[in-house]
Symmetry: C2
Subunit: 456 residues, 2 copies
Amino acid sequence: MIKVHKQQYQTEPFDISTLESKVGESVTFSGIIQNFRQTKWGGFLTVRKLGKIIQVVLDGDTRVTHGGQTVGAETLLNESSITITGKVRSSSIKSPLVYFKTVEVAATGIDIVTLPEAHMPLDVNKAGDDTYKLDTKLDWRHVSLRNPKDIAVFKVMSEMVRFYGEYLRKNGFTQIFSPKIVAAGAEGGANIFEFPYFDKTCFLAQSPQFYKQMSVAYFERVFEIGPVFRAEKHATSRHLNEYVSLDVEMGFIKDHTDIMSLKVGLLQYILNGLGETCAEEMKMFDAELPKLPDEVPSFTVAEIHEIIKREYGVDNTHEDDLNNEDERLIGEYVLKHYDSDFLFATHYPTRMRAFYSHTDPSDPEYTLTFDLIFKGRELTSGGQRMHDHTKFVEKIKQVHGMNPEAFNFYLDIFKYGMPPHGGFGMGLERLVMAFLGLTNIKEASLFPRDINRVVP
Amino acid sequence: MIKVHKQQYQTEPFDISTLESKVGESVTFSGIIQNFRQTKWGGFLTVRKLGKIIQVVLDGDTRVTHGGQTVGAETLLNESSITITGKVRSSSIKSPLVYFKTVEVAATGIDIVTLPEAHMPLDVNKAGDDTYKLDTKLDWRHVSLRNPKDIAVFKVMSEMVRFYGEYLRKNGFTQIFSPKIVAAGAEGGANIFEFPYFDKTCFLAQSPQFYKQMSVAYFERVFEIGPVFRAEKHATSRHLNEYVSLDVEMGFIKDHTDIMSLKVGLLQYILNGLGETCAEEMKMFDAELPKLPDEVPSFTVAEIHEIIKREYGVDNTHEDDLNNEDERLIGEYVLKHYDSDFLFATHYPTRMRAFYSHTDPSDPEYTLTFDLIFKGRELTSGGQRMHDHTKFVEKIKQVHGMNPEAFNFYLDIFKYGMPPHGGFGMGLERLVMAFLGLTNIKEASLFPRDINRVVP
């Protein structure tokens, strides 16, 4: 019998993130060799440690060992796992890929823990730039992810999710987990995956829409972080067939503007957080923190058409939706006049928005919904939802020509009492893509799924 | 055009969780009527607010309004959404379902926001006890969840996930999101859901095992919170067909004991956290925090058989696995001698554990794996994984009789270099069930999926 103590697993005697405060001290840590450049007098190693790159310098006296034997430095292959002992010293490092810019470790000893058995099919140190085509990198995704820029993308994603949850919990939200195996699609349309579930036919959830709304009755404010599935039949640079949806729903709102305010507060919190913990990662992508003022301009779709006509001479005032060009122009206008990368467009037509969208009491042809437009492109959307059972059933039948019987359990929630409520959903990969300026959303998915790709 | 300010959404002027410090103050807040007991002089309301129950007292002077008109108090139906104005005063409340035990709100005004349209099919105020059968409650899950005990279960779940993430982030772990649409099962066996994915056949992930191990090469320490899918063909009180898996994987370990230590530290952090934020919720279930000492006893399966033979006269020393009775007896022994509700059992036979389990270098018939046994039942398991490519491929072929070609992308990770690593997975619902002492795991799933149940 042994006793397991919780402290044993602290296999390293110091927190690597404090390396820059350790100048003059001796340290020991383990990591994976990102790259080794051997010189006559020793060499430069970059070492991957908890997703950060550390520069390590070897000289003639550095002792390299493997299985208790001293070996030559040429034994150190990229992607070897090693344990380094050395002294932290000041340095001035230019490479954007090295995380710690002011220190390096002068190694006295390097012990090889494991060696790779084979050379990699591509040079991972070039997988972060344009040397390879995206398709090649994705075919070898499990290998190409071994590069600092790809790793940075997912460090940013992890932190984004952290700040998202922190902010919502601070404001009374409960995290829920709704089922991904469902009996009916929440978003309609043909882009739904169907599968045999024992003696039934079921679907993969397109969104947690029904469940997060229902949860308002129990918890009042809820959020969810989970996968959603869309059977999109074409591959684009902005769509995935499986993505992570950040969902929010809140009860007792005045109207959609409460939801928009929540969203501004949440995004500011996330961006401030990223500015604090992911500054080095953002620099790798030359990504500046977006401009998100305390007051974000919000226009109705009709107002946007007026502005575009007046400012740019483009007359789409007969349209009641926005096209890509409209979004681009209003984004340009708002950046110039309000110094904001963000704006809200509101009051989309009722027939174009999801059946659960609340109509505008002053004109039921339009909804209390919004899109958040970031740098001239739609980033996420949301709005107030229907909550009056009678009016909701009427709208489903009259406006959308759908049969309310198909989602009885969902409509029950409104029958038995529901406060005014609303919310939004945001694709996590799309947020990462937007804030880092990536050109393809697949770069923001660890192992992306599209119509052709389910491996690795 | 309007400007959306982040503060607008703070629709309530105070944080409801501070209600007990507001004695003598006037407050206004919105909530849903949990129950209304009318009396000659007014009545008692319990109000659901952010998942907590507040007692509100009406007297003859309380003005009840609806749409600007004064109405009688009898208009207040259970599940109505209301806005309450009143004064906080001291009280001494016995009901375990009321969250705030030391204060109540003396209402001067109640404004009805929405009214239910219909009576509920069951009395939700009895849905937290044994009045209804579990199946009845689950058939009406979307309604029965409107009761304080069920809500408490999911408050505990939300907080558990919070502390899980907090602890791991503090220790350098990156949160990952791996695909749930996969080309091959990670856990083998027949309990996998298959579905048509465009021109391919794909599966729903049984676990993120392959992806979390691969991610050790990139991030060294990773965790995931996400659904997993098991096509279990029988309904039991301990299994779900979809559940939330809390997964952890860590590189540069000495052996499985580093993983066990991490797990002890993590569970202590979660339990301490629940003790701080969920004390009222735990009381509703008469649930005491489990005994988890700093040092948790760990025995090999062989040692456990010796103890059981010596202490209880049950001789299973010829077996190399544990049955339910063995787990129960060793749990009893450990509680008595070590005052711990937890123990580890280690060194399970190689042929019985997953193919990726690391063999014990001193006896390859056994693995460096463990089960964590809680109150005499297996709660979760984990261990060190194979990381040497040559030995791993050999083990897959020789021991498990499987074809390594089936998971080439996964095995590549080891070919190109991988440190010693290990981890564990824990079913979130099972943890909630264990710590609250629930009798059926379905009570710990918001909308449980079993062989018969995919609605609501």
